[in-house]
């Protein structure tokens, strides 16, 4: 019998959607046929989605990667000696040397792909729980102070300073405070929350415990979208392991401090990603948006002071605590500090996750990392920040990725999703879709959103049919004004952004003659 060889095949949604499980079976069968001992570790994803399924082989030199491996490739890979890092058309060299990965600033996603997501040993061998251990020795005020000084802002899209939010909850009076993690990642073009939850679930759990210690909350909820069943499984198992190992419960590792959390599933509603709609949904109600004030920090879940943070905001806290506020603060630009996970999607050659300090420009992301369009044609439009983000043209690619720069350009960075379109995109159709999506997903509480979205879609259809186009375009602009000023939340208030940017940048797609 030959020496045992260790292989890595991700247990992650993208890899699975391209046949990773079938691949594991094929590798095991081929190894058995050859009398070769192999151990397959199901790691998370490195975020190089375009290479999935990515098989890695542990060698003396390090982990060697083979990308886009299919079941049919397996016999050929064995024949080429891939178990010792042999050369093959699919070989990408050492994983750590792949430039897509090597040039990133991996802080929040440092362990993703590297470790077996559910191994507590792997987690702790790679810096896990260092932040929590420090936090357990600190006062709530000291923890909040660190997070405030780090400059961390909400990664869900609104970019509100996390430390200020925590400080409000810390100072609020309440019988039972809560930490709610918003894992309702519904924006098209985003998948960073999912990759983190599937590839490094303890990082999120650690961040939530620290948040609990910081504000005096002992209960937490992860509101997870139902489209992410694998996250539910992995997080569920991680919670069981963390509890068994004393990281959750009434007495965290003998500190006398308590925190526990549970997962609650959404049910296919986009608007429940809005924080107050999410709170109503968690309470078992329709996901209706609440008027603010009162802020959730004061009157949140079940009327109690509540921290509502995105997955990545919470998952960034462990490294801030472990390495200190200054370490994190040193990344970034202007008022956008630290790193952000960009997600390259749509018509893109190398789609995936790129964690970089703020300040990188859009061109570098789309052209250098992303490799341009998948169809190898010119870029026509790039939608940044999800379905409520602006459609930027090829002329806008030099914009720096920074909250303020985007805001000045009338665009939004949002949750960091970047969706690329080539020349086949009809921007009137995209504008119509923005209204249609709003009509489908509106919670219905306020009129501009509920009715405006339907009327907007009808108006664009008329423009497409060449019916009083100029007049109808003016009407769309008017309607957008009303929606922007008169909607309670971003759903109705920001639907005008993709619509108006499409009209502005591609007037020829809207028949005005």
């Amino acid at each position: 019998m030959s020496d045992l060889v260790t292989l890595y095949v991700p247990l992650e949604t993208t890899a699975l959607s391209l046949g990773a499980d079938e691949l594991v079976i094929a590798i095991c069968q081929e190894a058995a046929r050859r009398g070769q001992d192999v151990e397959i570790i199901r790691n998370g994803s490195w975020g190089m989605s375009w290479l999935e399924p990515l098989v890695e082989v542990e060698t003396d030199k390090g982990r060697i990667a083979y990308g886009n491996v299919t079941v049919e490739d397996v016999p050929g890979l064995f024949a080429a000696g891939f178990l010792t890092g042999g050369d093959h058309a699919l070989c990408q060299g050492l994983t750590a040397d792949i430039s897509y990965l090597k040039t990133q600033d991996r802080l929040t996603f440092a362990r993703c792909g590297l470790i077996d997501a559910l191994s507590l040993d792997d987690y702790q061998l790679n810096g896990g729980f260092l932040g929590l251990k420090k936090a357990l020795e600190m006062t709530p005020e000291q923890i909040v102070d660190q997070v405030t000084k780090s400059g961390l802002r909400g990664r869900g899209g609104a970019a509100f300073p996390t430390g200020i939010k925590w400080n409000t909850v810390l100072g609020a009076e309440g019988e039972q405070k809560y930490i709610c993690c918003n894992a309702d990642e519904g924006d098209s073009g985003t998948f960073a929350d999912r990759i983190l939850m599937e590839s490094d679930p303890y990082c999120l759990i650690e961040g939530m415990i620290i948040a609990g210690l910081a504000v005096g909350a002992t209960e937490g909820y992860i509101y997870l979208r139902s489209e992410y069943p694998l996250c539910k499984e992995i997080l569920g198992e991680a919670l069981i392991n963390a509890r068994a190992d004393g990281w959750l419960g009434r007495d965290i590792r003998g500190s006398g401090k308590a925190f526990d959390l549970q997962i609650r599933m959404g049910a296919g509603s986009y608007v429940c990603g809005e924080e107050t709609a999410m709170l109503d949904s968690l309470e078992g109600k329709r996901g209706m948006v609440r008027a603010k004030p009162p802020l959730p920090a004061i009157h949140g879940l079940f009327g109690q002071p509540t921290v509502v943070n995105n997955v990545l905001s919470l998952a960034s806290v462990p490294i801030i605590m472990a390495r200190g506020a200054k370490f994190y603060q040193d990344f970034g630009l202007g008022r956008s500090r630290g790193t952000i996970a960009f997600q390259l999607a749509g018509n893109i050659a190398r789609g995936g996750l790129v964690e970089k300090a703020f300040g990188i420009d859009l061109r570098e992301l789309v052209e250098d990392y992303g490799g341009g369009t998948y169809t190898n044609t010119a870029i026509k439009a790039v939608q940044v920040g999800g379905p409520l983000g602006a459609y930027l043209s090829a002329d806008d690619l030099d914009l720096p990725m920074d909250y303020e720069a985007f805001s000045q350009a009338g665009a939004v960075l949002g949750h960091g999703g970047i969706v690329v379109f080539d020349g086949s995109a009809d921007m009137a159709e995209q504008a119509k879709f923005a209204f249609d999506f709003c009509a489908v997903e509106s919670c219905g509480k306020c009129t501009p959103c509920r009715i405006g979205s339907v009327r907007g879609s009808e108006l664009i259809a008329k423009i497409q049919a060449g019916e009083n186009s100029q007049q109808n375009l003016d009407m769309v602009r008017d309607l957008c004004d009303v929606m922007e000023a008169g909607s309670l939340c971003a759903m109705g208030g920001m639907t005008p952004i993709p619509v108006l940017s499409a009209i502005k940048n591609w007037p020829k797609d809207f028949k005005t003659e």
Partner: protein, 163 residues
């Protein structure tokens, strides 16, 4: 994933089963959502007689139960077909040809999004983002996600279940 029981013949009302499902969540804060998920899982849709049980257990009116149930896309009013196909209609998949893929599937099955074939074999649904946008377009077939879907690949998937 979302529809563990999609078979029409398994969708018969069973009050004892429904009670058992609901009772698991009675003490839970905000448990109505979980109870609805439980019923959807057990029956493949939310049977109307369960509204009374839910109203009773959660101390709400039937109208309120219907209000919550009808708000969420996942909670179905009718049994689904044997096979449920969801095609992502959101921007990232649009950029990789989901509109053409949707037309192809609709023509193949002879139904539109949101419909079930007369023989109850297939239900076709729109979905807005499956979080697999780096390898668009995406569909789910009986709960399993498939990335980089093409018309040819879809025909292959369909053949496997149509035999």
């Amino acid at each position: 994933m979302l529809n563990d029981k999609t078979h029409l013949e398994k969708a018969e009302w069973d009050e004892t089963e429904a009670r058992q499902v609901i009772e698991q969540f009675t003490g839970l804060k905000g448990g109505l959502m979980e109870a609805l998920h439980g019923l959807q899982h057990a029956f493949g849709f939310i049977p109307k007689p369960s509204y009374d049980l839910l109203a009773d257990v959660f101390n709400l009116s039937k109208a309120e139960i219907y209000g919550v149930k009808s708000f969420y896309h996942d909670f179905k009013s009718e049994p689904q077909g044997h096979h449920v196909i969801q095609i992502c209609q959101a921007e990232s998949c649009q950029a990789r040809g989901s509109r053409a893929l949707t037309r192809h599937v609709q023509e193949l099955l002879g139904i539109k999004l949101g419909q079930t074939t007369h023989d109850g074999h297939f239900t076709l649904e729109a979905v807005y983002c499956l979080g697999n946008c780096a390898v668009s377009p995406n569909i789910t077939f009986d709960g399993k996600l498939h990335g980089r879907m093409s018309e040819d690949n879809f025909d292959g998937l369909l053949k496997k279940v149509a035999l």
